[in-house]
Amino acid sequence: MAFLLAVAIGWCARPGAAATFGKVVPIGGHIADLAYDARRNLVYIANFGASRVDVLAGSTQSLQGPIYVPAAPGTLALSPDGRFLVVGHFLEGTPPQIAPDPVALTVLDLDADQRRTLPQSLLGSSPLAVAFGAGSRALVVTRTRFFLLDPFTGELEPLTIVTDLQTDELPVPFATFPPEILRASAGVSGDGRIIWVAAQLREGAPEQVALIRYAVESRELRLAGFTASPPAGPRVVSVNGDGSQLLAGWALINENLILLAEFPYPAGELHVGGHAYDYRRDVIYAHIPLPAAEPGGASREPVLELFDTDNLTVRERLRLPENLAGKAVFSSDMEFLYAASDSGVTILPVGALARAPRVRAVQEDVLFPGNACDNRPIVREIDLVDLGGGATDFRLELPAGTRGIRLSGSAGSTPARVAIEVDPSFYRAQKGTTAIELVIRSSAAVNIPPPVRLLINTREPEQRGVLRNVPGKLVDVLADPVRNRLYVLRQDKNLVLVFDAGTYEQIAALRTGNTPVQMAMTRDNRYLIVTNDHSQLARVYDLETLEPSQPIVFPPGHYPRSIAVSNRSILAVARSASGPHRIDLVHFDERIATAPSQLGIYTNEVSAQTVLSASPSGNVIFGAMPDGTVLLYETTADTIVASRQDLEGLAGAYAALADGAFVVGPNLLNASLVPVAQAGQLEGTAAGYGLADGWTVRTLAGAPSSPGVIERVELSELRSVSGAKMIEAPVLAKFLESPPVGQTGQTILPFLRTLAPLANRQAMISLSRSGITILPWAFDEALAQPVVERVVNSADYTGGLAPGSLILIQGMHLSTVPEMARERPLPTILGEACITVNDQLVPLFRITESEALAQLPYTVSGTGRLIVRSPGGTSNPFVLTILPGAPAVFRSGAAGPQTGLPTIVRQKNGELVTLSNPIHPEEAITIYLTGLGVTSPLIEAGQPAPGEPVAQPVLEPRLTLGQVGLPIQFVGLVAGEIGVYRIDATIPFWVPTGMSVPLTIAQGTYSTTLSVRVVR
């Protein structure tokens, strides 16, 4: 019943409007505070303007008769036993002649239906916050004092700390809201043992915040002052289960008052927005409006975002019916969240959120890889799902004027698979990657679905590199010099993505702080340090275990951005919330950072967009600022030894290539930071610098959708010696910048590190539009023409080939970059190479310099001419004979140390047939093989076989064991596999036995024979 009710009231879709999450119950006034009565399933609402406590029944989600109180209720709290409701009245500024000693507290005994009032003279000033923990007494916070109130006797016990909290005074101008008047809020931990209060500390300075922690059992009271810029709005405190973590305004703080994370775009308004810490589900619900000045901030669309509780990563975004406006309380079962909102209370059925209609695509990006061999339209599929598991409508929209893209359906109901067909000829002129946003809309879904990025690459054969799609905003890349790994910083999801530098497969994802900016490795290569622009912490990871290590704590108000590790010191540029931005010194062993006021002879004041780079030797650290200022740290002096400003408007790539050679943008600086060379006319902006075999390598980017350039550079003049066009453009800061998406962080420095030569000298990795581009180590080497020497089937490695056979092509210079297909259907270009047979494209599984695993098209037969095309040229045709059927059993089986075993399986035990696992009469066997030829229905090469209907070979195979025919139970392509057939057969009783009985599979005029052991 509760669930049905929740669904009924939780979200609604109005015709012509998008659905929203939650239901608004208007109250006619402004809410100052809320309290939930678990015993009666009621919500008490402090209706500040109306001087009453409204009562909302949880069972009917409607208002009951209010409780009238003598003055404006600014705060209220319910005792844990549900007996006493303590209401604090706010009367600051009321002239004495009107109320000589006004009522400050009303204690309502809900069981006895009695009330007691306490005058303001007992407290000294108006109560700003009242809260019950797990104890029987309420904490009362006034402007100057803290008290414990015994609701049974009405006795007030003053606590020792005295302060001077600030509020507004009555009367106030129109359109002033309770949080702006009281400027205080309290939150209680889930276990009731800790009460946190946030209040304004200084008059006229809403950014001055007092955080008060009260431990209920020990009665310990602690107070700390903060400066919050913008003001710490919304003025709400949400506390986790044990009080060790709280959200105060826009900041996530731990019990040691370290800022773990902050919402990246706080408007700082005290009365708009709200949040709640769901410690049971480990999620934070928050409505944090964007500042009006931000792009999209003026729309004020109310959005509830779900955040991770460690770093405020946005999980989901839901539409709200209206703005939240202050405190929120959970029902006792935490199924409902009652949140103060513009009109009254918005009831959010968070317990049923998992079942709420929320549409999204499974894929974040869809890559349409360029293929110089193939101009045909490319088809990829996306899956639209409802995270709530239901059938929910969706509509797909492409930007107006989009050409060359066709959707199999632009609207439908989840779950659905939509095919996207891209005609590359429309994008041919780009010779790079065009990104198009596919927007998902739904009238019934309560979420805001993230768009899908369509990445359409077109390329010429000479363009170098292999694309590896990595969705998200990638802002830094680092090659591990000792572990054959690659680290990529994904800023929008707060992750370090760890890739194997041999296979380019992602092997781990490490959670960072909010909005990670840069990475650095310690000189011993043991730890990876990641700075975060919305956290006081730099995260540290042990690279041996890929586990988090103790983070580095920066000074309060410091947010680490760029970081560099020298042989002696670790320097980090810290954005400062107040005062000048600084270079902080990291004391790695203690895991703290300090901010010296002076660095050598220089005042420690830098641009927040300063970047640092250590030289390969670790002897120096080079720094550059957008205004042209550069600086140099030396380990011998252990301080900044030089700084100049000879250049203007620096941006783009930067690196300390040697102890006395620094590059930034097109400029080369010497050991004294004097500009000594400038690159001439470049084919774009310098996007990345790297060192490879003693050479300097540089990437250049023009437009985002154009090809990039990689070139070998003669360092003394920054002159290009040789180069090649890249498959797509490396990223520049301006390519990455985008309007904010809710509270997803974005800190794009004008300087980026986008190029990482791998330690294994296999490739160089460039951050690029689709993710990463894998560039050959010898990108500028004269390439040799591919040579095909041998083509065999990949099952038994003989020359028996049939349509659809899996084949192994052996030769030389087949590919410049080893690559393995990751998608299905198989690509027809891989490792910069494509292969055709009789002008028909061959789908590829993998390719290396000497070998390619592929599938013959089903539509070739007779004599075939196989040709390989790569950046090195076109191979001479290799002539194949393609039979209608050429069965070949895979030799890919393994048992213990034995490998290369035929893939014949005894169904009785599911293990391969071997000498120790012989075939027995009256059992059944399964044979996996390729080469059974064309099927009915016909399958397109490179496509996984369907499960239903089974694709069966047109030409029936025959099986004999020791000359005895075997009845075939099944023959067809294995569902989900490409080019793999299966034959199931039973063994008659009368088959001959022996150690080596011939098992023959024949099809047409071709047959293949294996020896198997048969035992009766």
């Binding site: 048992a895 140390p897 391969l912 071997t914 000498l915 120790s916 696992n917 012989p918 150690m995």
Partner: protein
């Protein structure tokens, strides 16, 4: 060949039985423990041991005492006997068992009126070897021996002796020892291609039995 020898043994026993009908009979049962001597198997200069694992056995017999110093008995023995192979400190086995039916002639040193009667025995019969366990695609030491789930029947030669002790009128306690000699069961313990194994399989069988004469 094995089948013909088996028939010959049964015929031998059957031919003797009619001659003793109406004489003293003895029926009994007992238990024992079989210990087979492993045979050497070699493969490319490396050697291993193959044979039957030691195991408990159960037996039943029927004997007839035609003469004062000569008797004969038909005996069945079930024996736990997992085929096994070992080499270089490693070992592999498959669950298995044997079933033996044989007829022995017993030559007693003393007249049957004596309470304690030592005797020697010899005879023949058949022995069925069975591999009953689970085969797998990879079996350790498969370069020597392939342990196979199958059945194999082989002729048996039985030699040994024992002593019978009269416990009470009509009741005897017997201690026996036999060496059951068969060709090596090379289907259940199939030598791998290239492996060489020679010799006969000796299964030494000590038995204790209780019998009733009537």
């Amino acid at each position: 060949m094995g089948f013909r020898i088996q028939l010959a043994m049964i015929a031998l026993a059957a031919g003797h039985i009619p001659a003793v009908l109406g004489q003293n009979w003895e029926l009994g049962g007992g238990a024992g423990y079989g210990v087979a001597r492993s045979n050497t198997v070699s493969f490319r200069g490396a050697t291993g041991e193959a044979g039957l694992r030691r195991g408990y056995l159960a037996t039943a017999y029927g004997a007839h005492h035609t003469y004062r110093h000569l008797s004969g008995e038909l005996r069945y023995i079930y024996r736990q006997g997992s085929p096994e192979v070992s080499a270089g400190g490693r070992q592999a086995q498959i669950a298995g068992e044997t079933h033996t039916v044989n007829y022995d002639f017993l030559f007693h040193a003393r007249d049957r009126e004596f309470g304690i009667r030592p005797y020697v025995a010899f005879g023949g019969g058949v022995k069925v070897f069975r591999g009953t366990g689970t085969e797998s695609a990879f079996q350790p030491l498969s370069e020597f021996i392939l342990l196979t789930r199958t059945r194999e029947t082989l002729p048996l030669l039985s030699v040994g002796g024992g002593v019978s002790v009269r416990l009470a009128p009509g009741a005897v306690f017997r201690i026996d020892f036999r060496d059951h000699v068969t060709p090596f069961p090379s289907k259940v313990l199939q030598p791998a291609p290239g492996a060489q194994l020679r010799g006969w399989l000796h299964d030494f069988v000590p038995l204790v039995s209780i019998g009733w004469r009537f």
